[in-house]
């Protein structure tokens, strides 16, 4: 894969990451009330963060072979920041889909969504993880890119 394609994919990954980070706060805000229905917002946020992760996974092998050794050689701190970022990104994806599944549970007799509070916690966690990962990603991208 040429470096131009990798650079374009990396930029697209970064922009979608920032967009999905913002999107994750939408269901987190809406689901603060357990009775609220926000299926479209939950699905859209989960889909966006999954697209971000898929793009990251696509360029990850090239990152490991081309960038990672150089980053660790020149700044181990930045390298360790990236290592943390990728795991927090995975956590954001896991929590976003957990939030979707919890939100899709049925309702109790009193109208409360079963798992509604859990969906709120899941999206808050996903949004915090995504924010942290995006911030770390910007730090690494400023330091070195394809």
């Amino acid at each position: 894969v040429s470096s131009a394609i990798l650079r374009a994919a990396e930029h697209f990954h970064g922009h979608v990451a920032l967009l999905s980070t913002a999107a994750l706060y939408h269901p987190a805000f809406l689901l603060r009330r357990s009775k609220r229905r926000a299926v479209a917002a939950c699905l859209a946020a989960a889909a966006l963060v999954t697209l971000t992760a898929a793009l990251g996974a696509a360029i990850y092998p090239a990152y490991r072979s081309e960038l990672k050794p150089a980053i660790f050689a020149s700044s181990p701190v930045i390298g360790m920041i990236f290592e943390r970022k990728e795991h927090l990104g995975v956590g954001a994806v896991i929590l976003a889909w957990a939030g979707v599944l919890l939100h899709l549970r049925g309702r109790d007799d009193d109208g409360e969504r079963r798992g509604g509070r859990s969906a709120f916690v899941a999206f808050i966690g996903a949004a915090v993880f995504a924010t942290t990962a995006a911030t770390m990603g910007v730090l690494v991208a400023v330091f070195k890119t394809f």
């Binding site: 360790m80 943390r84 995975v90 859990s118 916690v121 993880f129």
Partner: protein, 78 residues
């Protein structure tokens, strides 16, 4: 989250499961896939193994604890 954190810690300590190495050469991918499989097994077990409707009651606190644990493992043991 627990499975992913456990597999990640095992990898960091040099105890990679043979299955993980067989699934994908990149640890990040194999850890994710194995964590996903563990989540599916756990979800099916909970869904079919417990009949009480109150099983979701402790979930928000358990989930919040799991998020904190996952974050701590990833930040302290990258």
């Amino acid at each position: 989250l627990w499975a992913y954190a456990g597999l990640h810690l095992a990898h960091e300590r040099g105890f990679d499961l043979p299955l993980a190495r067989a699934i994908a050469p990149i640890p990040l991918f194999s850890t994710f896939l194995l964590g996903l499989a563990a989540a599916a097994v756990a979800s099916i077990t909970v869904a079919f193994g417990f009949q009480t409707a109150r099983r979701f009651d402790p979930t928000p606190r358990l989930l919040a604890f799991s998020v904190g644990l996952f974050a701590a493992v990833m930040v302290l043991c990258p």
